[in-house]
């Protein structure tokens, strides 16, 4: 029987191919060398992470992979200062490899290759410009990242000069997002939810779903937002962890590109304000660092902004805030799966229709399975390896590479979204200001419930944990 390729299966293959290559370079080759060394040293030997050096074979491959990563340094007034020969070479090589990879996929999906390649070159150049703007000193300090710039630049081009119709075949936002989400699966390590014990689970895993479901209900029943996909994308984005949760949810419920753009825009604007306002308020009222950190970690959307806000209060607040946010990050796996199942079984059916398991399976976005499988595999691997080895090989090795690749794929997706969107369709999302009201009401509930739960858990139920921090 001949295999039928779909965008979902191809996204899984691309994600797995990148992860397999990264696993060979960062885990399999180095692990072989470590095992051989430990076997020679005898049974009593343990792995010394500080003294560890990767083998020559692993070194060669990792060096080759790291040359593909597009990283631009901060710049102030002269954007050309951010470019070096190495960064431009990385950009050209990465774009060429991805063009080949996605080009093969396009042939399998029986779509023409030449216009895709031309359009993909444009998307890649705009993605590089988005990275460049995100590296600007002031923009960076406000948390205005590549996601925002990619959408803005795409919108600017599509609503002014436009792009040739044939090139639109390169605007594969869903494919780029799905492949990126399969890579994100490797970063969703379930063992991390125990990092701070029960208080962390209560603040991040009990409050968050309550806020998510309440906000979605509020959007449907009180605000009567017409689009359920817009409602759930904003609710997830606000209650879980911002842009990454919005991407995962939007892909799982097949939200429109304008809806994802709206959710991301709201998240970025409110995150930039909350990142400064919340720690300033905590300082002003003299709230203890642990409580303030837990509050920040449970409410501010983006991880980077949580770290910045926590650092404003002190090291203890930073550590608590970042750890709570990390536990919340892990919720993305459950969220994507739950939304995909709910949409397949409940939302995408006609009134009075009974949905069978086969129909749910047919409607279910298959890339979510790739995302969950990758997450389960790396979670198990992380727990099975010696803890020092897990840090050296997975956290500081594979994940550094895969998260950079994932960021680039997301950036390509956001550029594609911008290039495929017109201002009229986007402004229609904001009619009546409902998305704003939804975000503000949901975030207000989030602020109240998180503060209450953090106070209960860290000061009433588990004060010994607070004392130990």
């Amino acid at each position: 029987m001949k295999m039928q390729w779909s965008e979902d299966t191809f996204a899984i293959v691309v994600g797995l191919a990148i992860l397999a290559l990264a696993a060979l370079a960062y885990i399999i080759l180095p692990y072989g060398a470590v095992s051989a060394e430990l076997a020679l040293a005898g049974q009593a030997a343990t792995f010394d992470a500080a003294a560890w050096q990767p083998s020559a074979a692993a070194n060669g491959l990792t060096a080759a992979l790291e040359q593909l990563l597009v990283g631009l340094p901060r710049w102030h007034l002269n954007p050309f200062a951010a470019f070096s020969g190495a960064s431009l070479a990385a950009f050209v090589m990465l774009s060429a490899i991805l063009a080949v990879l996605f080009g093969v996929g396009l042939r399998l999906l029986k779509e023409p290759l030449a216009p895709f390649l031309k359009g993909f070159a444009l998307v890649s150049v705009v993605a590089l410009l988005a990275y460049l703007l995100a590296a600007q000193n002031e923009f960076k300090s406000m948390g205005l990242g590549y996601a925002l710039w990619a959408i803005i630049l795409g919108l600017l081009i599509s609503n002014t000069v436009g792009i040739p119709e044939a090139w639109r075949s390169a605007l594969k936002q869903e494919l780029f997002i799905k492949a990126g989400l399969v890579l994100l699966g490797a970063e969703v390590l379930f063992g991390k939810i125990l990092a701070i014990g029960l208080p962390g689970i209560f603040v991040a895993w009990i409050v968050t779903p309550i806020v998510l479901v309440s906000t979605y209900w509020f959007g449907q029943k009180i605000l009567r937002i017409e689009s359920k996909t817009l409602n759930i994308t904003i609710s997830a984005d606000m209650s879980v962890c911002g842009v990454s949760a919005a991407i995962a949810t939007a892909a799982a419920c097949k939200a429109k590109k304008e809806e994802l753009t709206t959710a991301i825009g709201l998240s970025m604007v409110f995150t930039s304000v909350m990142m400064v306002a919340l720690p300033a308020f905590i300082n002003a009222v003299g709230m203890p660092e642990v409580l303030g950190g837990a509050w920040i970690g449970g409410t501010i959307d983006a991880t980077g902004a949580v770290v910045a806000a926590g650092a404003f209060l002190g090291d203890t607040a930073l550590n608590v805030a970042a750890t709570i946010k990390m536990i919340q990050n892990i919720l993305i796996g459950v969220l994507a799966f739950a939304v995909a199942v709910y949409w397949s079984a409940r939302v995408d059916k006609t009134a009075g229709q009974t949905v069978t398991a086969v129909e749910i399976w047919l409607r279910f976005p298959k890339f979510v399975l790739g995302f969950i499988a990758v997450s389960a595999f790396f979670s198990l691997l992380y727990e099975r390896l010696d803890s020092n080895l897990s840090i050296v090989l997975i956290e500081n090795g594979l994940l550094e590479f895969s998260s950079d690749m994932r960021s680039w794929l997301f950036c390509l997706a956001f550029v594609s979204i911008g290039l495929a969107t017109n201002f009229k369709a986007l402004s229609a999302q904001f009619s009546g200001g409902k998305p704003f009201i939804l975000y503000i009401c949901g975030q207000s509930l989030n602020l109240c419930l998180t503060l209450l739960m953090a106070w209960l858990m860290f000061y009433q139920v588990f004060p010994e944990i607070t004392n130990a921090l």
């Binding site: 002031e138 990242g145 600017l156 970063e187 995150t271 306002a277 983006a302 910045a308 998260s403 960021s407």
Partner: protein, 73 residues
């Protein structure tokens, strides 16, 4: 005529980028909380736009420090 509009739109975009950048500089000077936050971000090399904990070395270290504090007791 169309190309004139395009040049104007791109010019306005570049101007708004410059205004935004200068606006942030002004905000950092006028509102102390913004200035302090910008200073901390620069000093500790924080990327506030990091989407996930794996993109922030400080977040990864935070978890290890928390685990260490809790297991030390």
């Amino acid at each position: 005529m169309r190309s004139k509009h395009h040049v104007l739109a791109i010019g306005l975009f570049l101007l708004s980028l410059l205004l935004l950048q200068q606006g942030i500089v002004l905000l950092d000077r006028v509102v102390p909380a913004f200035g302090t936050q910008a200073g901390i971000i620069m000093e500790r090399d924080i990327d506030p736009a990091a989407l996930f904990y794996t993109q922030s070395p400080l977040a990864l270290n935070a978890e290890k420090k928390i685990r260490k504090s809790l297991t030390a007791d």
